[in-house]
Symmetry: C2
Subunit: 279 residues, 2 copies
């Protein structure tokens, strides 16, 4: 089954050459309309504005961890996960065509990209970091400026698209660097070959509450792939929990597990049932 209809408009955060663009094409092929958006806010607003049919957002990197803005905005906007994909990430230092590594003293990139090159910045403390909305956009900016003291951190695809020069390869702290993206829609989707389920819950305030919430899945041998806690704004030291479970949407044990879960927690919302990406 096709995930997105031919010609569907897929919004992503960034500009041409971004890792998100690469992920969109890996997941959906070339027969889609790409809708770039400069910020996460604008990305998530694009569905309500009618400017896109789906949103593709990074949700987790294997080094930096979860992308908290995606977790928070997914909930604020009441969206559903209908698919996911994983792509490998290699970060390069990219300057304008005349740049040399020795001259670089300012590096701009997306905060997640900066965060996963910590060792590079620790080894070069004179290099200043600037937050940009997008890895690829920072390459475009650096090439446009033509200032040899500035560089960007982005993938090789961005260097190619904008004519940047790769000054150092593989700045990422570890080579096992992957980013997982989720495809989000306004409505839930029945995916016949779904084998993964995501949900978000609020626990009751009592000892053992998380243990009891996990029990319906543990008892039925439903594997918990990931748990993420996020603070509840305005209620210090209270959290909501995002769970990813390895289970098909029509698995006979799932509806009973969800019924048990609803009985033991304050709130639960299923975020989607979809096909897990293979690494």
């Amino acid at each position: 089954m096709r995930i997105a209809e031919q010609g569907a408009r897929i919004a992503f955060q960034g500009e041409r050459g971004a890792f998100s663009e690469e992920a969109a094409i890996a997941l959906l092929g070339e027969q889609i309309v790409l809708v770039p958006r400069p910020t996460f806010e604008a990305l998530f607003a694009s569905l309500e504005e009618g400017a896109s049919d789906y949103v593709l957002a990074p949700i987790e990197n294997s080094l930096a961890g979860s992308v908290h803005r995606t977790y928070d905005l997914l909930l604020e906007r009441s969206l559903y996960i209908i698919a996911e994909t994983v792509i490998p990430i290699a970060h390069h230092l990219i300057g304008c065509p005349q740049a040399r590594f020795e001259d670089v003293c300012v590096v701009e990139s997306h905060p997640v990209a900066l965060a996963q090159c910590e060792r590079f910045f620790a080894a070069h403390p004179h290099i200043k970091r600037i937050v940009a909305d997008d890895t690829a956009g920072s390459v475009r900016h650096v090439v446009e400026l033509g200032d040899p003291t500035r560089a960007a951190i982005a993938g090789a695809r961005a260097a190619e698209v904008y004519g940047g020069r790769i000054l150092r390869e593989h700045l990422e702290d570890h080579r096992e660097n992957y980013t997982r993206f989720v495809l989000l829609a306004n409505a839930p989707r029945v995916v016949p070959d779904a084998d993964k389920l995501s949900l978000v819950l609020r626990l009751k305030h009592e000892p053992g509450a998380l243990h009891r919430a996990l029990e319906p899945f543990a008892r039925r041998s439903i594997n918990l792939l990931k748990i993420e806690s996020r603070p509840v704004a305005g209620q210090p030291w209270q959290y909501r929990f995002y769970l990813d479970l390895q289970v098909g949407a029509d698995a006979p044990e799932l509806s009973a597990a969800l019924a048990d879960l609803r009985a033991s927690v304050d709130q639960v919302r299923v975020l989607g049932s979809y096909r897990a990406a293979r690494l």
Copy 2:
């Protein structure tokens, strides 16, 4: 009992006027020697270098969530938590004395401070964000530059220390904004009135593993205050879990619970037993 001996050297990340400085004094009083360090790497290295006796590090903000660098470095450096404190955070936009809000187009601050003023930046998309190592240091920098188009985000204490002008008050997304700090030492400490315990664990790879790891505490009504998962570098989609438990170090049920835990998980390390901060 005194947490740190008189004249103890307390390293913190930032410069004079930083929230960390405020937290150090709130926790330990004025009879300490403050050791400012420009980066998290330098902060955590200060103990091994013999430049400090203790490290005070932010571990969680009630809006932005966990400070992942602290979780990661605490483990890399094999440190122990011996105390914690919580302080309220109010973020102000601070410029040089002649600055006006209308002229500001670049704002620098610590990435956590920038992250918790998302609404301000969404409402002022022309303002560019620059990552700095420290909130207070960004105020010092802005005042030194004397450039009215630049401003910093920091607490009122930093404006006072460096003679900056507050251009906008309370940029934080929510007023219920608190940061929790932990005091770290090279060795564990017996704290007689401890009522909180932190540990980190690696689960076995099997369904129900997290549920089983929580069972020894749930069964004994030991309250789980927080759970944080962090990726294991080099092993995509594998996590370690940090648990905060509401339990005294000499509670009779604790040693049995820890023995049960060790039998059900791959690795466990107690990070410390200490007195919980009151909000």
